[in-house]
Point group: C3
Chain length 259, copies 3
């Protein structure tokens, strides 16, 4: 059984390694995959977006653990969200809420049964003390209902919706990847409705004409717009860094004009 | 069998990947877990502390390989320390010496039997040429005694002890994690003896009143003191970076006053 | 079966995790090893060098996937190069061409059979849509010839050759590792032919006398020259960073004088 891990723990410390120790101590056959541990500290939205666009590439029955958890030890609950053949485990702070399956889950469970937690755990590292052991037990076939009490709802965060006009879309940058590519909240479908009109993309005072379908279609160092691997509009630079070139970041407006 | 890897190799190069290639070439069933490869270059103490606080979360029989090894190829010996059901493999420079099991090991072995090393190895990368193949053979059940000759002692590094007074403790910062949390050498027990007195924590001219039990107990951006997942006193900032806020680093004094 | 992954995806995003999800969805028994994901963005030469010096440490039958792919979606082909008992999978941009086995491959295949690709893939992430599923199918025993049509040749990049003189060698820095060690294109054999003459090494106005066989042979902070774990001449600083100390980088000249 596969268990994925997503966190803001970075790569300096052993927090992720410790979680893996707890998991393999319970299920030596667990196949653990790191989704990312480079989430910016406490950035719940970034982790929620990564999960939204990654979970569907894993086989049914995968357990996805997300530990971006600034409220650890407070009143926020540790939860399991099951749906679409996937299990999501983490804090009830919205980090699990952008996955498609989370929109209509089969069940949501408050992870209150400490028989499935690490004995003697504390209030500062639920990744180790609650989420890792629960994920390991899930991967061994423990039923969600055994892990705690059912919940009617869970925390959801808002994906900012683009404004769709007759001849234009006004969206924003919601994620910047490690290459400096600027991911927007504008979906491929938001652009397809303009076909066959020519599109212009504006971002931070720069204008890009036409939608490319791959990076090398423009000269090295030039800006381009394309629908990327998440299926959203992305502003990029061929062989370069659009974040630096545009001086743009999360929250900046991207406008699409059809002519 | 589980093999953990800890090093200062970082994430740019393929040194860790090469070690894994050597391991799986010898034991294709080895389950390899990265503890951390983000140890600051040549920082033996940081690696020794990570091991001290991680090893206990792994099942008995795990082999822990540590490669922070500025003296590779010199007179320092490659060693195995076995104890507490765990195997520690690395250079004899102190990096293995802060693990609890290492305090009273079952055996210490100089890894002198090159039948268990990579043929044709050199003097600059014992991680690949000595420690990885030895760990793989251990995970296959080779007895420690077969790997070389017994040693009576091995290199130990000093964990700085806090000064315990009647109404105060004077300790220091020994580790800073990726969030900028400041880990001290003051254990939970050093604080418990003051109960039920109120505690004040001083660090770099800043004063914190009271011990929190989780981060979100204070407003965003505020300093707090808590006993962290290592079981030591930590100075932190809720949703922030205490290293930056306090301008503090390893070796800086942290004082606890009971009133 | 072992599958290694090498990319310039870094550690912030989930691109590598998504590739692993695709792989384990096809072959749940695949043993995936990260070689490095810290290749500088679009640096085909760095990835080609890492592969050249890593592939030989993996057991026969290993599948090595390299995704440094600025031309993804363009006319450059996705290919498989098989030889020396290893499989290399990636874009035909030279990234696979410095591995020894690639010099005389058993076969080269254009990965044109989309029955082995991810259904519904796009033109911006062949790592996910083409290379990961192909690697997974290879690891299940699918024959190279089934994956597409044979090619007569593939793209090769040039490894800069050192200039070998009677009493000197003029080479250059081709790689800088995470410690700041300066790797040159001068092989051990290029130095051995001068034995037993004394050697002097010049780099960026600094001069080093004699070849060391390990780092700790000189005082902390001092420059040294040695033949490193790649089997090439390296300029290093004991317990320090030669890149910073010398102000040197890729392309800078390193000269060896025999006297």
């Amino acid at each position: 059984m596969i268990i994925t891990l997503t966190s803001d723990f970075g790569y300096k410390d052993a927090f992720v390694g410790i979680m893996k120790g707890v998991i393999v101590g319970i299920n030596p056959q667990a196949h653990i995959v790191d989704l990312s541990h480079g989430i910016p500290p406490q950035d719940i939205m970034a982790a929620a977006l990564l999960l939204r666009h990654s979970v569907k590439y894993f086989p049914p029955g995968t357990v996805h653990v997300a530990v971006v958890d600034p409220g650890v030890g407070s009143a926020r609950l540790p939860i399991l969200v099951a749906g679409g053949g996937q299990y999501l485990v983490g804090p009830d702070n919205g980090v699990l809420s952008l996955v498609a399956a989370a929109e209509a889950p089969d069940c949501v469970v408050h992870l209150s049964n400490d028989a499935y937690h690490l004995p003697g755990g504390g209030k500062t590292f639920h990744g180790r003390d609650v989420f890792a052991p629960v994920a390991a037990h899930l991967s061994l076939g423990v039923a969600p209902a055994a892990l705690g009490s059912p919940l009617d709802s869970f925390e959801r965060i808002t994906w900012p919706a683009p404004q769709l006009g007759d001849k234009r879309v006004r969206g924003e940058i919601v994620y910047v990847d490690g290459f400096g590519n600027l991911f927007t909240n504008i979906a491929a479908a938001d652009l397809r409705r303009f076909a066959p009109h020519e599109l212009t993309f504006n971002c931070r005072g720069r204008s890009i004409g036409g939608l490319a379908d791959h990076y090398a279609l423009v000269p090295t160092g030039s800006l381009l717009a394309l629908v990327n691997s998440w299926g959203v509009l992305e502003i990029a630079v061929n062989n370069g860094n659009a974040q630096t070139v545009c001086g743009a970041g999360i929250g900046d407006v991207v406008e699409v004009i059809a002519s």
